[in-house]
Symmetry: C3
Subunit: 441 residues, 3 copies
Amino acid sequence: MKLTKFIPAIAAAATLAPAFAFAQDAASAAPGEQTAYILTTVLFLVGGFLVFWMAAGFAMLEAGLVRSKNVTMQLTKNVALFSLAAILYYLVGFNLMYPGDAWTIPGVLGSFSITSLEAVGLPAEEAALDYASVGSDFFFQLMFCATTASIVSGTLAERIKLWPFLVFTIILTGFFYPIEASWQWGGGFLSEMGFSDFAGSTLVHAAGGFAALAGAIILGPRIGKYKDGRVHPFPGSNLALATLGTFILWLGWFGFNGGSQLAMGTVSDVTDVSRIFANTNTAAAGGAIAALIMTQVMYGKVDLTMVLNGALAGLVSITAEPLMPSLTEATLIGAVGGVIVVFAVPMLDKMKIDDVVGAIPVHLIAGFWGTFIVAWSKPETSYITQIIGFATIGAFMFVVSAILWFILKVTMGIRVDAEAEINGLDIHELGIEAYPEFHKG
Amino acid sequence: MKLTKFIPAIAAAATLAPAFAFAQDAASAAPGEQTAYILTTVLFLVGGFLVFWMAAGFAMLEAGLVRSKNVTMQLTKNVALFSLAAILYYLVGFNLMYPGDAWTIPGVLGSFSITSLEAVGLPAEEAALDYASVGSDFFFQLMFCATTASIVSGTLAERIKLWPFLVFTIILTGFFYPIEASWQWGGGFLSEMGFSDFAGSTLVHAAGGFAALAGAIILGPRIGKYKDGRVHPFPGSNLALATLGTFILWLGWFGFNGGSQLAMGTVSDVTDVSRIFANTNTAAAGGAIAALIMTQVMYGKVDLTMVLNGALAGLVSITAEPLMPSLTEATLIGAVGGVIVVFAVPMLDKMKIDDVVGAIPVHLIAGFWGTFIVAWSKPETSYITQIIGFATIGAFMFVVSAILWFILKVTMGIRVDAEAEINGLDIHELGIEAYPEFHKG
Amino acid sequence: MKLTKFIPAIAAAATLAPAFAFAQDAASAAPGEQTAYILTTVLFLVGGFLVFWMAAGFAMLEAGLVRSKNVTMQLTKNVALFSLAAILYYLVGFNLMYPGDAWTIPGVLGSFSITSLEAVGLPAEEAALDYASVGSDFFFQLMFCATTASIVSGTLAERIKLWPFLVFTIILTGFFYPIEASWQWGGGFLSEMGFSDFAGSTLVHAAGGFAALAGAIILGPRIGKYKDGRVHPFPGSNLALATLGTFILWLGWFGFNGGSQLAMGTVSDVTDVSRIFANTNTAAAGGAIAALIMTQVMYGKVDLTMVLNGALAGLVSITAEPLMPSLTEATLIGAVGGVIVVFAVPMLDKMKIDDVVGAIPVHLIAGFWGTFIVAWSKPETSYITQIIGFATIGAFMFVVSAILWFILKVTMGIRVDAEAEINGLDIHELGIEAYPEFHKG
């Protein structure tokens, strides 16, 4: 998902064009520009609906990992945050993130205007000037914006009020995410600097993780979580849902990483997309198996929630560079992600940062690992630049998020009262239980 | 999803052909006819499997919104209705709906014969005469027929007997739906008249809604729903499932609306498909947010089931014309759909029409809104014609459905006895509980 | 999914090439080799992610059909087995299954080496030598290997230990499956013999079924299942999940069968893929309706779990030949699959083979039916050859699986102790309940 990818793709088609003039080569010729446009647009559409599906994955994962008294609230937040992201990204985000020539501050701040798609029935001559449909690109990119917001909701579950969370989502999806993402994918200063983040280990996952971390610190832990110097685990209410959510996210990730190739109109591009699919899958598998073995070795029992988060951490880890690694490298990169989760979850608990679903280990910490390790397989990157890029995004997201959470805290208040928290947000805030007929233990 | 779309698509390819003869233009040439055939077929296949997935969405939505004592029955109905639709559409529906030259009554009644697909290994010269594979078109269209039946099952849940419901499904999917759909998509009298319904706000959603409405009136409300002049809500047993179902439907809708472009072999068509994806998504978001705000304002609490139905109503609203509106128009069209749901659900209750999942507000009433508002963004349509078309389909579906429900009532009986209804259809009718181990509250 | 399919596909493109030299034919020309390469690769990628999704389907189906005390374990096994399959298939399986010229024993045993994908940014001239991206083919084939392992986990649920099951999975996915699959799809002795199994009724489904059968016999039935000469049913804990799982599998099967066409770069191929989609769908519908009717007739009540397994049996039945049958033939083939399930489930119980989810009837017995009936619609096959091929694979899988289960039994032990089985594997083996807050009945 590098903007600079666009130009080579078109250039490549142009280069092959003369060869096409020889009729005897026709059968082996590269697809024409219009066919390439169609194929790349298909990549965005299919990739986009797969990433859309991740919104359902986050909803199920989080609904499964909270206690049953907070499930309706968690579901409501997930539907609402996706919907708000969709609207904000069209009203503000897309043009703020891809400013083209219209930077407000070059390399740092894009332009403010709403998204307008191509005219209906666009004639081929006009469209062929571009590499794919703007509508498909918008559709695809919007899903990444929504994913960033999804990451936040899990960490802050079971105690945050609905409306302040939604206000945060509006600012995050309309402003914070598009601004930081423009620094790399909009051709901003990070991309100039040589930072590399193929599909968003930093720009999406760690960015969401930093917004969540700031929120978790300002919001504080759930009542009873850290008491008498001990960590009291609150088991998730429905591990079948959590597992379903993980499988949904895994599926959606093929679109997330594969679609970030941003081109499918040449043999080279589709071959790269294939490689990305294979690497994405094996990294998830590596993360799951690493967490499986680690929890067996460390605790004597396999922990399903760790295995699920291990798979997700594997996915986050490979997201910064799903193309260059070999299958073996991808498996190892994912496996380290899985190991990270097993250590980072109790570490956060020691710091009394209460992350309900483990989103900070999975998205922020494995996001760092994935970003850092790009330099292993991609020659033109450096570990130092990767660290600088990560730190830049992290500092920005943490600071602006903390400021916003703080403002929300002193104005609207962000935390439900103790009675609501103890009795459940569903009854107190929404008046609807998710499972009204199943007795609670 | 206009049959007339087919011819222009082929004509366009033909028009571009001469330009292709100039070798120097080859790289920018439109895809050849055979490539276009492949790409459009892919659209039908991918669109088709996405709409198939909506069958699961309806099943989960409905299973989540009924009480746990009726979940097995609701699941059984959903699997069975899809299966029956698949068989009936191949035995009768497809040829009844797309009569081509073989109308039994021109513009009104198609022809009766079973579907036969192309020969295996079809040579290119034969296939190239057509714009896409017949098999893919059949696969895609069949899913719309099944969707119509899915809409009915939710409204009538928790009190209708299994077998009369399945008999109704057989007639609906084999006859009612194909007949009314042929009036527009088969090139019948409504399409002649200038009625416009791109992907089926009227032909699928409102049609299903009218069949459901007729059934709800004849079947009567659930015991205890309207008692002592008050409405007694029966909360759904599993809102996580209902939310999952909504996300599934939202995902499937990209295929529903996007696939209804019916062509993907040109730059113009794939650009239109992209626009449809983006508009479909934003309309759903608009519907969800509108319902979120409305329930907060009206009741002081956000109502998740309204938000879910708001998203679905947004989707239904944009279905009649997902291509022409701008993103802003699409968001507003969807938002009005969401508002409609919030008002229509209690309105139906006032009329003592017991619609268990809210399918009539979502599919029929928002379906009317979506059909009506086509004239806002599509110059060649008129509000009057849209109303006439909607009323024609509505009257037909309501009358034939009411007659059939009445016949079923006096022959087989359509309602379980009071004891079965109170103790649950699962135990009484099927002998299997959906959640046998979870105590009921 | 016949390896021999590859060569004709490329040959066809070559044959059409000369016609392309006539500029006046350009608009109707077949896609060039590179476009065909892209389209076939897309088939593998989309088919592959659909089959990936089946892993979630098996997980949900099985989690829904076991008792709630064993749900976490069943989910853990499903995530772990898929992850192990992914890793083993890349380390060993792919090259063992597609040996090309490097058979260790010609026609019987492939070669041992890890999978290496194409170089990044592969130039078109190199890739055009092949018919599709190796990475996409690997991705697609890997999913079939994982499916085979998924089948085993359901049968042996509720009593097998985690780690011996995972060791079995490693050997199954790394060795047993690739070896037997190479005999047909790797160009081995069964394909030489004229055996026909398009997408794997035998190679995947029955193979998994035989591995499960050997395990079920050696493991023995669950405590209390067969007591006092009666069969005691243990109802599944969550039929909504089981239904969801069935819909997921049904969706994934479009990729399973459709992708097995292995080519989409010609009009003929995409037309065949369409036909496969339509046939796959109607076979599932036929199986569901047959089971619906049979259970009504035989037991006086429709049995949802039989309907779900009926749909799956319909899918397995059409998998050996989803292309050649007409829609009517496909519906009948699927319907017989559904009938088989209704009879085979109690038959297995009579033999005291305890198959928790009905995987042996669905995958092994309907797999035999599907393999056998290929000869009905495919002229170049014979019933005898089909039986021989099925018996060969079956004998191999049963014997090697039985040996391995036996070794695991005498070394690690494969069965949990009685207390763990009675109290539930979740508490005893994993320490985490899937639904900790829902009281058990």
